[in-house]
Amino acid sequence: MSDPNSDRGRGGVAAPEGQLDGDPRASALLRVEDLRVQLPTEDGLLGAVDGISYELHAGRTLGIVGESGSGKTVSALALMGLNPKHARVSGRIDFDGRELLALDSQQLRALRGDELAMIFQDPLSSLHPLHRVGWQLVEAIRAHRDVAKAAARERAAELLDLVGIPDARARLHAYPHELSGGQRQRVMIAMALANEPKLLIADEPTTALDVTVQAQILALLARLQRELGMAILLVTHDLGVVAEIADEVAVMYAGRIVERGSTEQVLTAPSHPYTWGLLRSIPRLEGGAAGHGPASRAPRDSDRGAVGELEPIAGRPASLISPPSGCRFHPRCPYALPDHARIDPALAPLPDDPAHLAACLLAPEERTRLWSKEERARLGSDEERAHLWSDEERTRLGSDEEPARLGDETHG
């Protein structure tokens, strides 16, 4: 029915788009290099974030995706200097020419809520329940700008209007509990935008909201970004949300970035088995990949084709206190070879798209082949499925000029 090449074509077109920004190193608003966050616990040192690097340009959105415990939130909090006191943070965070990790708490305070703002998952617990929202907005403005109360109030009303709260002036008198969940999140966004930040960090901004409200908030963020030109760092577990508003994606697993690239590329031509696993774990709203009722498998196969079952990732997330040796994903990876328990893959660019990086020990061509083959099988017949990754293939791969491949991985 659908031409399988059609979207690959789209992906191909999307690739150069990322390079429109000119020299990326020169213009990046945020550059994170080898960021590490370690938290001492009773059981030992927990490496929540283990050497991640990424860049974010003004006016762009980077989505950081991962499951709970992958380190995505901790890495975002590190930017704000909001990790617990006993956390050991190292690496470099270059924000608009300043090294954030070198700033003292007072300097950070001046930055937070001004050039650097954050919104959180649960708007109810992030707003003060005993103060009217107008008061809270005025406070956020006056913390950074030397303006009269009346002027700040004026600005607060403007902000509420900007984030699409009807009858903004009257709503200044409302307490948080008088607002709906979506409106509270709008107030949080208004507060974050109070001083026109250059970077907005959004940590699961829509997770607590209903889908229809989520759609409104995502549209709002996209509109505000267009109007104000800020960069957004979006932390989420939801690939759908990323697909909706992110330009680039970084997929995190066990404290590391395992794949990074333009949203289009990562979602249509993913190159890491973990990303494959995530994509195959999500039920879809349309198309044959969704299942059709448990009891119905046999009787309905003729009707719907053989596709259906979600393929969860086996096992459970890696321990961050004693992470697996070699590739951290190898215990859960269906394609792991014995060597993968020994060699730790670096994040390396793909040969056909230098802006798309993955940390995997399989050769890039092999991964491309596996993904497209499985995708075909997923949409195709049972026979094709059954022959996926046969033993013969496994042995062939194992003997496949190992040294050359490893060289490929490490030079990036």
């Binding site: 889908v211 229809t212 690939l239 995530l278 879809r284 059709h292 448990p294 009891a295 009707d303 979600l310």
Partner: protein
């Protein structure tokens, strides 16, 4: 994509066997004022006259946003709440106002899996004790060894290691805890299993494991499943039929594929349009 399908032979076979029939079900929660003398000044119409028919051996979805009354509906069917009005016919018998022994007996045939695998398990009891509790309450298999065998069998069914019988909930991950919840729900071999947002507290990869488990169990045990969720994609994966709820009413219902392909109610359309699409899904692009 294709033409409308004719009713499947398989569905026809089951058409006759209705396990649960809900007619005009109503639940109002009174709003009162005053401390000593309470006066009612209104009511929250949580469930406002809904009809629902569950065919034996099928999975039915109930989908809607926060506060639409879907969980209240589940609690009414479980008889954890007393309906304000309407009928709930379970296997041909009206259970809307059962009490005492009859209600107790009914609870052997209905079971529920809850949303939060953390708060729905008693942290001070072992997994064995938690799963065995329904058996103990209903005084089934009083023989200790037999009960233990049954519990281990259940743990095995849901993919838990039966040797972990003596462990406590905190030793398990979220996904495993949800498996414990499922094992407990299956302890009495219920006819109807109600799953209220069973995966929304779980990570995506774990969510898929639990969804597949529920599908398998449903298939193998021939359960009737009422699957409640806010997630339209998950409902599509799990269910044959779906009912969309809004403000305590069912606005639209029908076979999942048909309803998703051509929704007629504006609210259903709005819901479907709001779900973020993943571009990697080539079917989304063509569709």
């Amino acid at each position: 994509m294709g033409a409308t399908r004719s009713p499947r032979a398989w569905e026809m076979r089951h058409m006759a066997e209705t396990l649960l029939e809900v007619r005009g079900l109503v639940k109002y929660f009174p709003l009162t004022r005053g401390v000593i003398v309470q006066r009612q000044y209104g009511a929250v119409k949580a469930v406002d006259g809904i009809d629902l028919t569950l065919t034996a051996g099928q999975t039915h979805g109930l989908v809607g946003e926060t506060g639409c009354g879907k969980s209240t509906t589940a609690r009414l069917i479980m008889r954890l709440l007393e309906p304000t009005g309407g009928e709930i016919r379970f296997a041909g018998r009206d259970i809307a106002h059962l009490g005492g022994g009859a209600l107790r007996a009914l609870r052997c045939e209905l079971a529920m899996v809850f949303q939060d695998p953390y708060s729905s398990l008693n942290p001070r009891r072992t997994v064995g004790a938690i799963v065995a509790e329904p058996l103990a309450i209903h005084k089934l298999q009083p023989d200790r060894a037999a009960r233990r065998r049954r519990v281990q069998e259940l743990m095995d069914t849901v993919g838990l290691n039966p040797e972990h019988y003596n462990r406590y909930p905190h030793e398990f991950s979220g996904g495993q805890r949800q498996r414990i919840g499922v094992a407990r729900a299956l302890a009495l071999s219920p006819k109807l299993l109600i799953a209220d947002e069973p995966v929304s507290a779980l990570d995506v990869s774990i969510q898929a494991q639990i969804l597949n488990l529920l599908r398998e169990l449903q298939r193998e045990l021939g359960l009737t499943l009422l699957f409640i969720s806010h997630d339209l994609s998950v409902v599509r994966y799990m269910c044959e039929r779906v009912a969309v709820m809004q403000h305590g009413k069912i606005v639209e219902s029908g076979p999942v594929e048909e309803l998703y392909r051509s929704p007629t109610h504006p609210y259903t359309r709005e819901l479907l349009a709001a779900v973020p699409k993943i571009p990697g899904d080539r079917r989304t692009i063509t569709g």
